[in-house]
Amino acid sequence: MKFIDWLDERLAIRQLMKVMLLEYYVPKNINFLWSFGVLIMLVLIILIVSGIFLLMYYKPDANLAFDSVNKTIMMDVEFGWLFRHVHAVGASIMFLVLFIHMGRGIYYGSFKPPRELVWLTGYFLFILMAATAFTGYLLPWGQMSYWAAQTITTLFEKIPVIGPDLVIWIRGNYIVADATLTRFFALHVVFLPLLLIFVTVVHLYAVRIVGSNNEDGIEIPKEEKKKKGIPFWPVFMSKEFFVMSVFLIFFFWLVFYKFDFAMDPINFTPANYLQTPPHIYPEWYFLAFYEVLRGFFFSQNLGLIAFVLSMLLPMFLPWIDKSPIKSGNHRPLFKIAFWIFVLDFIFLTVLGKLPPTGLYGWLGFVGSLVFFAFFIALPIISRIERKELERGGNKQ
């Protein structure tokens, strides 16, 4: 008896492979944007592996953290610098591939029935990833780490009634201090990754049930899946390996030559609770949301509400955009709104790094309004499209 048969008798491994890979069909009418899901898995694995190696020398203590990163790991540990740069660049690139993956989902209507749970679990993964990045950013205990944590935790102060006490509870001190560092460490290396992996499994399971969307957004009936699709393994993955290779060239080019973009110079000064750096800003992937927070420069409370909304609104897309037409390819009005939204997101990201004064303040305000305008426009566009369909004209 071969080993595989022995395993199959005990774990039904063949059946599992069939369902997960061999008889899981991916549509033929998809483009390279559909390869980003696997790229996210790749980056996640890179982050977990590099993280484990950083963990072997990192010290989660306010007195030791900074040196354990900037001296021990960067100077003393052989190839320690490599693992740090891989981890930092990996975190940054994770958001790039996430944004593209999510943008693909929005454009081609992959959040629409029957894929609402794919979208919801995916969006939850995005929030978890943001939390992981935020908690991880505190760990090197540099000035930017410290003041980013200080600023973001201060936001909770604005929550009515419980706010001020909640902030102290989150920090375990009146300011960000050792207690904060150690609990962020626990969240970053155990709790959040565990949750991330669990939700990823649910996300992938959900995709196995409903299948991938495609460029035209027309569902393939179950019986035609085999004819109109390609098996995930080995056909889809053989293409994916090519994409992964190209991606890794880009990734390691960043790691070896352009790692600076993920290493803020201000963060090479140890955290000092008595001195704020003159200009605090988050990493690039939070800048758009940060700009929405600052965009309502005339009212802090309004800015905070807008910030929370900007993070949560996209989650409800399946119920905001109820147009019967799925793919953006067949929705001329949606196409315009979508690209304005994408440009606005980039615009906000650029603006987020600039000081929020004078003209920039106003531009930020306008940019924030455009961000929300997308979510207001979607129900209207859906209605127009529904009416057009009912009149029988302009199908697809």
């Binding site: 509870w169 375990g172 001190n173 009146y174 609990r183 704020t276």
Partner: protein, 165 residues
């Protein structure tokens, strides 16, 4: 059936187990919640006692309170007056964190102002913003007067009066 009204043995076991589990989960969550509270040594720093008469007229003292610098300035008659921000008739007590972006302003004794090194904001001897980007005066920390001492971090009647005025 008469038995419909009664709780069956199975229901009873279900409720008993469910209730017991809920108590267990509740207790566990409470314990988890409590672990995140500031440690006793941190809470001990929540209030700071400082002897006001130690400060000479015209002198500025900086006291660390909850990780923040608190400026205690004993004003002289030639400095600006502001009854609504003055404690014990002659003291300015403010949190030394610029209301613009959180930098720590420096006291310039010759000009009798606080000057923020980050963006040039200025505050008078009462801690009121008089120039530059700061949107509001330096905050007055909660305090209580105990004879000669000021206790930072506790709310006393004098503080409440200042906040109302």
């Amino acid at each position: 059936m008469a038995e419909d009204e009664k709780v069956s043995r199975r229901d009873f076991l279900l409720y008993a187990m469910g209730g017991w589990a809920a108590i267990g989960v509740g207790a566990t969550l409470y314990a988890m919640y409590k672990t995140w509270e500031p440690l006793p040594e941190v809470k001990a720093q929540a209030t700071v006692k400082f002897k006001l008469s130690e400060v000479q007229p015209g002198e500025l003292r900086v006291v660390a309170w909850r990780g923040k610098p608190v400026f205690i300035l004993r004003k002289t008659p030639d400095m600006v007056s502001c009854p609504d921000r003055t404690i014990e008739k002659e003291f300015t007590v403010v949190v030394g964190i610029c209301t613009h972006l959180g930098c720590i302003p420096n006291w310039e004794a010759d000009k009798k102002i606080w000057h923020c090194p980050c963006h040039g904001g200025e505050y008078d001897a009462c801690g009121r913003n008089i120039f530059g980007p700061p949107p509001k005066p330096l905050a007055i920390p909660p305090f209580k007067i105990e004879g000669d001492y000021i206790v930072l971090g506790e709310v006393g009647p004098e503080y409440q009066r200042l906040m109302k005025g």
